[in-house]
């Protein structure tokens, strides 16, 4: 077993200890790189790094991540770069003509009663998404919350191709409709 593989085993045994190392050593490098190469604030980069760590854990837990090609920090950089791309696009997004109700936020003022109904519908649908479990939950969150395209999702979740992601998303949405 090589040293890189040990990083994953170390994380399984001591998640706190390894994550402290990641936050102290890897995150500053990621934020430094992100500030230098993208128009992204430290605060946003810290959030993105946090999401990269979460995706790493989801991949590890689901068995999609079984071995590292580089170090754990390099792996997080790979995920983080895809998340930054999606984040930047979200900042510059183009909506549909006349589609003021989008982007997808809860900031649009619907009025208290309509807001309550909308929140309840969102909560019911989220319960169904949650019940789908992995990998649907992560795939749908990355698609609709983080705004990643199929290629980026294939990269961060470790799928062979964007087509695999599209087929999987279609199946997840079909199950959600039932």
């Amino acid at each position: 077993m090589n040293g890189k593989q040990n990083e994953l085993d170390d994380f399984r045994k001591n998640p706190n200890g390894v994550s402290v190392g990641l936050y102290n050593k890897c995150r500053p490098k990621f934020i430094g790189w992100g500030k230098e190469n993208t128009r992204t604030s430290s605060h946003d980069l810290a959030d993105i790094f946090q999401n990269a760590v979460i995706i790493m854990m989801l991949n590890l837990e689901s068995g999609r991540l079984t071995e590292l090609v580089g170090t754990l920090c390099t792996y997080l950089f790979g995920i983080g770069k895809n998340l930054i791309q999606a984040f930047r696009r979200k900042q510059d997004r183009i909506g549909l003509p006349g589609d003021e109700a989008f982007p997808i936020t809860k900031e649009t003022d619907l009025g208290a009663e309509a807001q309550i109904i909308a929140d309840q519908e969102d909560a019911q649908l989220w319960a169904k998404v949650d019940a789908l479990g992995e990998p649907c939950r992560s795939l749908l969150a990355l698609t609709y919350r983080e705004g990643l395209n199929s290629q980026e999702i294939a990269d961060v979740l470790g799928y062979a191709s964007p087509e695999v992601v599209r087929q999987l998303r279609k199946r997840c949405l079909d199950r959600l409709r039932k």
Binding site: R27, P28, D92, A112, L125, T143, G147
Partner: protein, 248 residues
């Protein structure tokens, strides 16, 4: 569905649509009901996942705890050398500002986070109440609807006293007291609501939490705000409840 529509939908949610493609998708959705339905469905899915963290999918509790680790400490360490002077200047500014502007009190945080509760009494909608509603009740809820909470609280007090079985009246009385910043009275008004099996119980936890915070009873505030947040129905005022809980 056509591949083109699927491509445009994916591009829409991945924010990669060009202006021409956005127009094309809009036209396609107008002309083809199945595309419009799919767009609408995916928008609903998108809205439902907005407020949920990716970390919710982690099953291992220890890993989930790590995933929620506060993200501030390491940034401060790494940014300190570069921003030391800026931080010192900002600190000096804060000290000066503090001399002139007091930090927000708990009561002002409570007031800022006390959201309106819509009047859901059936008699508000025509034709849904078979029994005759007394004029004083209609009048009191009229004040409530007009957000004249101080007067609504005064008008509702005798109504609650004479209708001790009406938990709904009591709830709106409590909300009026919270909205008019009469926190001690609101605690007394709302306490029976959270002990009842009434459907108002969950939002009552939120308003009682605010009222307790307003009186300075932090334990009571924490318990009730947490009870609201722990409830699956505690959705509408979640952001406000979390803000007050954080300030306690």
């Amino acid at each position: 569905m056509e591949n083109r529509a699927e491509y445009l939908l994916e591009s829409y949610f991945a924010n990669t649509l060009s202006t021409a493609e956005a127009t094309e998708l809009k036209a396609l959705a107008s002309a083809n009901p199945s595309v419009a339905a799919e767009l609408d469905f995916q928008k609903r899915v998108a809205a439902s996942v907005q407020s949920h963290s990716l970390a919710a999918g982690i099953q291992n509790p220890a890993w989930r705890a790590v995933a929620q680790k506060p993200a501030s400490a390491a940034i401060k360490v790494s940014m300190l050398p570069r921003y030391a002077y800026a931080a010192a200047a900002a600190f000096a500014l804060l000290v000066v500002a503090y001399l002139f502007i007091m930090p927000p009190s708990l009561q002002s945080i409570v007031a800022d986070n006390a959201k309106e509760y819509p009047n859901k009494m059936k008699f508000k909608s025509l034709g849904e109440e078979s029994m005759t509603v007394p004029e004083n009740v209609i009048s009191a809820f009229g004040l409530y609807d007009n957000q004249n909470y101080s007067e609504a609280a005064k008008a509702l007090q005798p109504i609650v006293a004479t209708n001790s079985d009406r938990i709904d009246y009591r709830f709106y009385w409590g909300v009026s007291l919270v909205k008019s910043k009469q926190y001690a009275a609101a605690v007394a008004a709302l306490m029976p609501v959270i002990q009842s099996p009434d459907e108002m119980k969950i939002p009552a936890h939120y308003y009682l939490g605010l009222a307790c915070a307003g009186t300075g009873d932090k334990n009571c505030a924490r318990q009730n705000l947490q009870a609201y947040l722990d409830s699956p129905e505690g959705i509408t005022f979640r952001k406000q409840a979390e803000a007050v809980l954080k300030a306690l």
